[in-house]
Every structure is written in structure tokens, then in C-alpha cells.
């Protein structure tokens, strides 16, 4: 059983300089309450691992705009001019990773695998300086696991065991990032009594979740 905590208590756990996974795809399926509170708390030097930079006011955007981010690891930054500007100004380091490689590297970290062998990126800038491995006559890029100190998860429903469900395309990176954070914090839309979520409907077992954010009263 988990006692639900407040957003403020969660934010207090996350120090400056932390490596943080943030779920969401163009801001859909992002724990927006945690993002807003982190930005308001003025965190510094965060490394954010997130699919995309979304827009200045969605997804990871508010953290970028508030100057909380030192490094961005993700696959797409095309519609966030604030991030582009900070990148060109040398304020934020950007590491671009193909989306399929990004999610599989996160999964590898969470599932105890040594890395990812993928054909994606071979023969492109992405492959530069990286080892390749030959398997059964085919060449693959070896990409290392990607871990984080914290994984911030947006869930649809949650129970007090920490079991999570997601809704439609707000699922995206959530179930994978929930595997790979040293500390996993879930921000659900609702908390329901234990036993209410059918076992087959659970997408993230509660054993992976460390803290659950309670909704404002």
C-alpha cells in the first residue's frame, strides 16, 4: 500500500541536477502538475529524458522555458522554438535519439538488458562513434541502456497498491518509463480503491511505483 503524497512533497524529493524521465508525446500523457510545480520551484540543471520538446507551454516545455533544463535527451524538438533558441545559445545541450531507439533503451535499462541492437541509425550521424555488432550476418548498432533517477508518470487510474492504467494515446512512453526510474512517481487522474482495477487491465504493476500524487482537494 502507498500513502499518496502531494505534488509539493514529490517536488521536494527531486534535487537540482537530477536525471528525470518525463512521459508524454507532444504533451499528451505528461504529468502536467509535476511539471508546473518543478518549474515553479525553480529547479536547476535537470537532465530531461523525454520523447519530444512539445511546445513552450506543453509537455516538458514549461521546464525548458523556466530555465530548469541543462540537457535534453529526446527524438524531436521541432515545434519548441524556446528550446531551439536555448540550444543555439549553448544553454541547453540536446542529444537527439531516434524514437524507437529511445524507448527501447529505456526498456533495456528497466528490464535488465545490456543494451539494444537496432538497425535504426546505421549509416547516419546517429551511428557516429558507436559500436556495431554483427548477428547472423546482419549489422546492428549497439545502443546502451538509458536510466534515470526519477520517472514521472501520468496515469489514468491508480489504486493504493500503485497499479496504473492509461488511456488511449496518453499511454505512449508511460509504461516503459515506469520501468526505468530509480524512483517512480505517478500522477493519476483518479485514485480508486484497491481491487477495483481488474488484474488484466493493469498496465503498470504497483510494485514498480514508489509514490502516487493525490489530487488537490
Amino acid at each position: 500500500m502507498h500513502l499518496a503524497i502531494t505534488t509539493e512533497e514529490a517536488v521536494a524529493m527531486i534535487p537540482d541536477g537530477a536525471r528525470v524521465m518525463l512521459s508524454g508525446f507532444m504533451g499528451v500523457g505528461t504529468p502536467d502538475g509535476l511539471v508546473r510545480a518543478l518549474a515553479a520551484a525553480g529547479k536547476k540543471d535537470l537532465t530531461m529524458i523525454v520523447n519530444d520538446a512539445a511546445r513552450p507551454d506543453t509537455g516538458v516545455g514549461p521546464l525548458v522555458s523556466a530555465g530548469c533544463v541543462r540537457k535534453f535527451i529526446g527524438s524531436h524538438i521541432g515545434v519548441n522554438p524556446v528550446l531551439q533558441e536555448k540550444m543555439h545559445a549553448g544553454e541547453i545541450e540536446v542529444e537527439l535519439v531516434p524514437q524507437g531507439t529511445l524507448v527501447e533503451r529505456i526498456r533495456a535499462a528497466g528490464m535488465g538488458l545490456g543494451g539494444v541492437l537496432t538497425p535504426t541509425g546505421l549509416g547516419t550521424l546517429v551511428a557516429e562513434g558507436k559500436p556495431t555488432v554483427e548477428v547472423e550476418g546482419k549489422t546492428y548498432l549497439l545502443e546502451p541502456p538509458l536510466r534515470a533517477d526519477f520517472a514521472l508518470i501520468a496515469a489514468r487510474s491508480c489504486d493504493y497498491v500503485g497499479n496504473l492504467t492509461y488511456m488511449l494515446s496518453a499511454t505512449n512512453f508511460n509504461p516503459i518509463m515506469a520501468l526505468a526510474g530509480e524512483v517512480v512517481i505517478a500522477e493519476p487522474e483518479e485514485i480508486v480503491p484497491v481491487g477495483v482495477i481488474p488484474p488484466d487491465a493493469v498496465k503498470t504493476p504497483g510494485v514498480l511505483v514508489d509514490h502516487v500524487i493525490k489530487r488537490a482537494a
Binding site: F25, D52, A54, S75, H76, Q99, L168, S169
Partner: protein, 226 residues
Amino acid sequence: MKDIQIMDPREIIARRVSLEIRPKMLVNLGIGIPTLVSDHLDESMGVFFQSENGVVGLGHRPPEGMTDRHLTDAGGSFTSAVPGASIIDSAFSFGLIRGGHLDLTVLGGLQVDAQGHLANWMIPGVFVPGMGGAMDLVTGARKVIVAMIHSTKGKSKIVQECNLPVTSQRRVDLIVTEKAVIQPRDDGLHLLETGPGISVAEVEADTEAQLIIEGDIPEMDLSRTT
């Protein structure tokens, strides 16, 4: 399906690409012109559209007031789900793409070269949107079609060799512009069709890359239905 009176270059491209789609295919459409392709398909074909963010069975954008923030496409826009749609997480979504389960992807391009290499994810120093899912799509889909306007600012986007960073070492299967249908093969770029009202000579003049032209080259038949 839309009416066949098509004059807009983007609609010519979308209509021509739609003729490549077979019933029951699983298809991923990129942002921009590729998105228009679905308008030219009959729903009875049972084609399923997948988006990188994990929707298998994307429908049209719902009417105002019937949108839901939990159901969006890869551009983050509101969408709907067709009957029989399913939701998968991002790892599964890219497993479908990389694992050869995606029959076709249609993407925009900045350049395609004589080897069939596509560049579509950055212009160094100018525009760095990132590759998103493009590298996985071009590497993993069973068939890759590049759908793009033939030239930009008077400069051909079909070049002898890409000077922009390529998206994959995989050769794309077909290039469709408003002026030409071009197929990259081992020996180079074969001109298969010309655009409506465009001559072979015009295509050659407007294309930087050397084209291989064998026999009579027909004009795109956009009155055809799949």
C-alpha cells in the same frame, strides 16, 4: 474519396500515393502531404493507419466538441479511432515499425538522391527538428514512399547525392512528386510516370539527379481507383 478534379500539387501527390495502397495494409502517414493520402481511400478497403504514439486504427479528426485530449495523432492533434482500433505503448509501436509489421510508410522529404537515400530530419545550422520516428520508419517499414513537392525555391529536391544528413542507409521504394513518379533501383532513378500535363523533358529539366528513362513514360492516371 475526393473528386478526381485535382489541381493542387499536394492533392496530386496524395492522390497518386493513394494508388499504391492495397486493402488491409497497415500504413503510417507522416505529417504534411502524407496526411492527405487517407482522404483518397475508400473505407471499405480496411486499411489501418498507425501513428508513432501508439494508435492502430486512426480515424478522422472528430467534430468540434467531440475531441478528447487522450486521443491524438503523432502531431499531437485530436483524432478518432475506427472500429477495431487498438492502443499500444511506444515500445510496441516501434516494434511494429522496426519488426516489419508496417506495410507502408509515406514520409515527406528534404532531399532524395540517386541511390534512393532520403534526407528529412535536419538542415545543419538552420533547422534541427530531430528525427522523431523517421529513422525507424525508413529503416523498418516494408515499403517507403517519399511524398514531396518536386522542388523548393526553384531547386530540385531530387539530387545526385544528398548534402543533408540522411535518415537511413535503406533505399526508399518510390518517390512521388507533382511532376513525377520515380523508382530508385540498383542502377539509379527510373522515371515511371510524369505528372498531369508535364512532359518528360520538363521533369528532366527540373530534376538535378540523372534519371533513367526507358520506353514511353505514361502520365499519372489519377482517375484510377485502387
